[in-house]
Assembly symmetry: C2
Homo-oligomer: 126 residues x 2
DNA sequence: CAGTATCCGTAATGATACTG
DNA sequence: CAGTATCATTACGGATACTG
């Protein structure tokens, strides 16, 4: 089986050993893909996002958003009003990541059940 | 824009807030996607893998491989001989992850350059 | 509301040495 | 060759309190 339909010989490494590593550098954070997933449907406010991702702390949410912003993946729109309102959205560059997020979504939908069962069996053997 | 073409109301959470989180739990490790990427083309021996992923230490490689094996993603074939030979390969379940890995690969190939440039600019502003 | 600022624990990762 | 074992370090992430 040869699934490698690309010639990687010209791929400039920039310190990465392969393109997958580079991608991981952008969306590799523990929460980044989840954040991006929620942003697919449109802009979201900070506290909305916090509700959508129950496991994350306020601090981590801020940090991950800042990194995504720095990398040009998301846009941060601040509305000058009291109380403040900040909306996050995907940039057009960020939208190029949607196929990745979608494939992760699809996989999760189809295989989570199996994974959970598998892990429970593994625990018994421990 | 409504990209959510799936009804998630029936998706059993199993402790995850969304399917993406579940997927991340499987391939979220710093090196797992890279390892899986190399396994797409067929089985690979331990030391080959170490060469293909220069950044990883022997210890981390072992740990990540063990986790992938535990989750049923890869198969570990031990040849009883001296010197020992161990080959890793994707299970059929592991192969269901290929679309995700491929989309990460494609994205990396197309956008790494841009990311690197973007980061260099960001550094100047610091 | 949307954050910062501190402090702190632990899990993740690394370095090095050793082995069936 | 394909790992373990041990120790050290760091980075990740959490809890809590405070603020424009």
């Amino acid at each position: 089986m040869n699934n490698q339909q690309f010639d990687l010989s010209n791929w400039q490494s920039h310190g990465y050993s392969c393109p997958v590593e580079a991608t991981l550098d952008i969306i590799g954070g523990k929460w980044k893909s989840v954040i991006l997933y929620h942003l697919i449907d449109g802009e979201i406010r900070f506290n909305e996002l916090k509700r959508l991702v129950p496991g994350i702390t306020q601090r981590m949410l801020t940090l991950q958003l800042r990194e995504l912003e720095r990398d040009g993946i998301i846009h941060r729109e601040v509305y000058k009003q009291v109380p403040p309102k900040v909306e996050y959205s995907l940039t057009s560059f960020g939208e190029t990541l949607i196929p990745i997020i979608k494939s992760m979504l699809h996989w999760g939908i189809e295989h989570t059940e199996k994974i959970v069962q598998h892990r429970e069996q593994a625990e018994v053997k421990d």
